[in-house]
Each structure stands twice: as structure tokens, then as C-alpha cells.
């Protein structure tokens, strides 16, 4: 009687909580490389740089494209180029190491496995990022995968690409202002006052929303939600309890300081024009 061997397909799940964070620079870089790709290439391949934090989160901060060749039966990657660019990048920022690679296109294709193998020789457990520039689902899909080995008994059969959670941190992009990054042409960068005006308008819109909600609840148009109500009262109560005269004094002092600074800077400018006249108008008789 033949002993029944283990015929269960096993796969070793990836280390506990592997997740990836992508900075907006990387997305911009990838899209730019895709737009500039050579005519015969269908997709762009490149290296991802960043850092790996001790709890397993991969922080992807930079990227560069690598020329490659892909045909139905073979794939080729310019390894020298990859090493040269890596060295150059590390001269600027030695803390950025390879964390994986990216390719444009939807999902994972057959050639990707070979690229992934190459990259797993450079770094253990590389992250594969796919950026769907073709908008296959009618929406932008950015996905991150890691490769997991499928083994049957002792033999390794295949590698499976498993998706890992991806955090697209748009904080830096938010700092620059989405309006600047969304449209194809912005004519003028906003200065201090224009930016402040825009922010105040957004704040006003938020306050309008909240008061509309409260009105609706009171008029019984909307079912009241306990948690929202408590949140609103918490927010309003979060103002520190200062007596009105002390608060007035605080605010007035601050306003006066600002006015003083504005006055000082205007006086300095007057002084500058005077000094300049004195310096250049003096003549030797």
C-alpha cells in the first residue's frame, strides 16, 4: 500500500503585515516615463526605491525607468543601466534602497515573473507595483503585489502574486495643492492672500454643511445620529475655557504684534529707497 503523500497545495503566507506606501512623486514619474516610452514598447518597467520600516511597511519614495525588451518568447532588461542609475541615485540619497519594481499595464503578465525573479535577487521580497495607465476598469488602479511561493510537498511549483494593501499618501500632493496638479495648465501660482481666501472658502463650506445637518435633524428631515451629535458638541467644546476679557486681551495683543510687524516692514522699505538714493546720488564735485 502506497503511503498517502501530502498532496495539499501549500503556500507560505507572506510575513505578518506587509503593506506599501507610495508617494505621489513615484506616480508622476511612472506616468511621465509611460508618456515618453519608445514607440514599440507597450509598457514601461522600472525600479522602485525607498525604505523598509522594521514593522514590514514598505515606503516607496522614488523610482526610475529601465529600458527593456519584450517579445512573445523572451524578455530582456538592461541590467547595467539599472545599476548605473542606482549608483547615481544613491550618491544623492544613500538611504534609498531598492524595494521593488513597477510596470504599467493592468494586472500581472507572464513576463513579469521573470522580472520579479531578477529583482528578488537584488532585494529579498520585492514589491511589484502595477499602475494601470490604460484605465482598463474605467478608473485608475494602482496595485501592489508580493510574490508568494507555492509548493507541493518539497517541490516549488510556482510563484503567486498576492496583493498587499497599498496606501497612496497624497499628503505632499495636498500640500502643493491639488488644483495645481490636477489641471493640464495653471497660469499662475497662488500667493499668500489668494491661498488664504481659498482655504477660508473651504472652511465656510464645511461649516455650512454642519449647520445644514443640524437644521435637518431639528426639522426631523434626517434621522439623528448620536455619534455625529456628540462629535459636533465635542468640537465646539474643544475651545479652551478662557474668560472673555483674558481672551480679548490675547487676541488684541496678537493683532497688535502683527500690525507692528507690517508697519516695521513698510518703514524698512522706505529706508531702503532712501539709502539707495544716498549711495548712488552722491557725486564728486
Amino acid at each position: 500500500m502506497v503511503a498517502i503523500e501530502q498532496t495539499v497545495l501549500q503556500f507560505h503566507p507572506s510575513s505578518a503585515s506587509l503593506s506599501a506606501k507610495v508617494h505621489p512623486v513615484v506616480i508622476f514619474n511612472i506616468c511621465d516615463c509611460y508618456v515618453r516610452r519608445p514607440d514599440q514598447a507597450e509598457r514601461v518597467i522600472g525600479t522602485l526605491l525607498g525604505s523598509i520600516s522594521p514593522d514590514g511597511t514598505v515606503d516607496i519614495r522614488n523610482s526610475f525607468a529601465v529600458p527593456h525588451n519584450e517579445s512573445s518568447d523572451q524578455v530582456a532588461l538592461d541590467i547595467d543601466y539599472h545599476h548605473n542609475m542606482l549608483l547615481s541615485h544613491q550618491k544623492v540619497n544613500p538611504k534609498e534602497v531598492i524595494v521593488g519594481w513597477y510596470s504599467t499595464g493592468f494586472g500581472v503578465s507572464a513576463g513579469s515573473a521573470l522580472f520579479h525573479e531578477f529583482y528578488s535577487r537584488e532585494v529579498s521580497n520585492p514589491v511589484h507595483l502595477t499602475v494601470d495607465t490604460g484605465f482598463n476598469n474605467g478608473e485608475a488602479t494602482v496595485k501592489a503585489f508580493v510574490s508568494v511561493n507555492l509548493s507541493l510537498g518539497d517541490r516549488q511549483i510556482a510563484a503567486q502574486f498576492q496583493e498587499i494593501p497599498l496606501d497612496l499618501r497624497m499628503i505632499e500632493a495636498g500640500r502643493v495643492g491639488f488644483d495645481i496638479l490636477k489641471t493640464t495648465m495653471v497660469d499662475k501660482l497662488p500667493n499668500d492672500l489668494e491661498g488664504m481666501e481659498a482655504s477660508m472658502e473651504r472652511l465656510l463650506a464645511l461649516i455650512d454643511d454642519v449647520s445644514k445637518y443640524v437644521d435637518d435633524v431639528v426639522e426631523r428631515r434626517v434621522a439623528p445620529d448620536n455619534s455625529i451629535g456628540r462629535f459636533i458638541s465635542d468640537t465646539i467644546a474643544s475651545v479652551p475655557k478662557i474668560s472673555p476679557p483674558a481672551f480679548d486681551k490675547l487676541v488684541n495683543d496678537s493683532l497688535q504684534d502683527h500690525l507692528l510687524l507690517l508697519y516695521l516692514s513698510s518703514i524698512t522699505r522706505t529706508q531702503l529707497s532712501l539709502a539707495e538714493k544716498l549711495n548712488t546720488a552722491a557725486q564728486i564735485l
Binding site: 529600458p67 544623492v92 502643493v176 490636477k182 495653471v186 477660508m200 516692514s265 522699505r269 552722491a282
Partner: protein, 409 residues
Amino acid sequence: MANPMARSFLQVAATEEVASPLRVVQIEGLVILKIIKHCKEFSPALVTGQLLGLDVGSVLEVTNCFPFPIREEDEEIEADGANYQLEMMRCLREVNVDNNTVGWYQSTLLGSFQTVELIETFMNYQENIRRCVCIIYDPSRSNQGVLALKALKLSDSFMDLYRNNNFTGEKLREKNLSWVDIFEEIPIKVSNSALISAFMTELEADTPVTQCDYDRLQLSTNPYMERNVEFLIECMDDLSMEQQKFQFYYRNLSRQQAQQQAWIQKRRAENMARKAAGEEPLPEEDPSNPIFKPAPEPSRLDSFLITNQIANYCNQINGFGASEFSALSFCSSSLRLQFEISAFLTQAKHAIDFIIETMKSDNTASGRKMWQDVSDRVQGRKSLEVIGEFSSIRLLGQKLKLFRRGLLA
């Protein structure tokens, strides 16, 4: 018959191209993000990098950039730096990035970038590239919510003067050049490819308020203003030192002139005496006498640069102070109203507690029934309604409307 309108190839090649003046710098969103990333990573150290792009008519397009490594003051690293640049440009060309240098970018601290080194770098670049631009990014100012990006170029008249290294008062008056004319600021336009704008529209977070709003509406901006004013004070000290140098020079000059006059008078008197005695008159000039040696006029370049810096600080204080002022006055009026609301809510809470106490202690049947009813509602999911029953939330809504009107005022 030759077409009179067509010019021969020779004619076309012979006419010189007139360079149209640079009106606008068009930067891609990618470049902005890369510059921000690089400058922020190394802040407060100052870093530089190269800009790549295309020069088209009156628009200078910047399509990509790469950072320079931080340079040590070492001779052998100099060659390394040049190698790095060549290597990067070669690699980028293989992926079809524009291989054309159009300038460089650098980060600055609170706007103190007007130095002689900047001018020298400009002159170096200008020798090889017809039109180049320098982009200055200020990470500390960008933390206040403004995208502090500036494109600068040296004005042509200043460049001529600098080449001759001649900064005397005479020459400056001739050319009508003042400290404002050294740097020309060029307006920046931002462009994005259609693909990336589609991506950004999709990936934009759903929150109605973004990080830049949080940065702008922050009230604790004193450290930034303080540093600005500190730098301003230092610059004023420098400026007054420069002015003292000028005063010293003029005083020396007038003293020298007086000495010269006195000496010439003495010579004339001598000559008269000699003529009377029939001897040869002595020359009226004596180049070997030290009082005839002209003192060198101090260069005004430094004072111009310092003046530029001071003007920059003043502008920053003005712009920032004005927006801070409006935020502060808005906050003060809204906070006053908020105080009233929270005071009101605590009062309302006391009122509710009192009513509940009286209801609890009311032992009549109707009292107990009312208490049961109210406690059901309180323990149920209708706390907002309960408060509404006592019509205090209605008043809350009214207060919010008032405070919104206070904002628009």
C-alpha cells in the same frame, strides 16, 4: 522665374535670429514634486539640482530635473561631480527625457538667496546656454501653506556691468541701474500631461479640506515670523556697515581733494616766485606725491545684494502678516461666538439635569410616566432629539448662522 518671396538658403542662414525675451517658465508638476521632495529631505541644509527641458520661443519649458549630491570641499570630488552629471544625463536620454540643461534649482532658508555665488553661477551657465533660469524653493515658507517657488534670471544690463566688473556710482547712474534691476522674476506656469491629470483627479482624496488648508489656518506662526525678523535685523546691520564704508570713502575723497588744492596753491605761489626770479616754473602736477593717488571706490554690488535680501524679507513679512492678520481676526470673531455656544450648552446641560432631577423626585403617577418616557428616550438613540425637545439645538443652529455671518463680515 524665381519667387521674390523665397529667400536663398544663404540669406536665411546669414540672418541672425533675434532672441525673443523670456516671458514665462512652464514647469511640469513632476518637477515641482521632485524639487519639493529633494529640498524637504535635506532641509535645513541647502541643496541644488539641475533642470532639464526645452527652450521654445518666449516660453522656457522645464520637463524634468535631477538632484546633485551634497558636495564636499575636496578636489577629487570635483571630477566626481562632473561625472555624476554626465552619467545622469546619459541615462535619462536613454529613456527619452529631454537632455537639454535649462538651468538649476536650489533651496533657500527664508529667502536669503541673493549672494555673490548665485550671480557667479549664473554667469557660468550663461556662457554655455543662451537662456537659463534659476528656480528657488523655500521649504520653511512652504510649511505655512504657500507654494514658495520663484523663477529668477539676471537682467541683461546687470550682466554687462558684471562682466566689466565695474560698480562705481558713475556707471550705475549711466545705466540707470538700481538694486531692483539685478534679478528679474519670471512668472511660472504649471503644466501637466493629460495622463497624470487623469490620475490625480481619480486619486485625489475625498476630504474637502487638504493639508495645505491645515497649514494655512494654523495660528501658531510666531516662530516663522520671529526668524524672518531676526534675519531682517542682521541684514540691516550689514547694510549699515556698507553705508559706513561709503561714508568713509567720501570723507577720504573730500579730504584728499582739499589736500590737492592746497598743494597746487603752494606750487602756484612757488612758480610766481620763480618767474619773478627768472627761473623755470615747476610742473603743477606731481604724480609721485601720494595725495594725488585716487582711492578706489568701493563696489556697490554687496550693498545691492543686501538691499535685495532686505526687500525680500519685507515682502515675506508683509504677505504673510496680511494673511495671518485676516486668519486671526476671523478666528477671534468665531471663537467669541464659540465661547457663547459652549457656555450655552453647559447651561442647557444644567437645565436638563435639573429637570430630570425634578422629574425623578416627582412621585405622582403622571410624573413617573413622564420620567419613564424621557428616560427611555435618553437611553434610546434619540439624545439629539431630546436636546432638540428642549429647543437648545435650534438655538445652536441660530448661533452657527450668526457666526457664519460674522465670517463674511
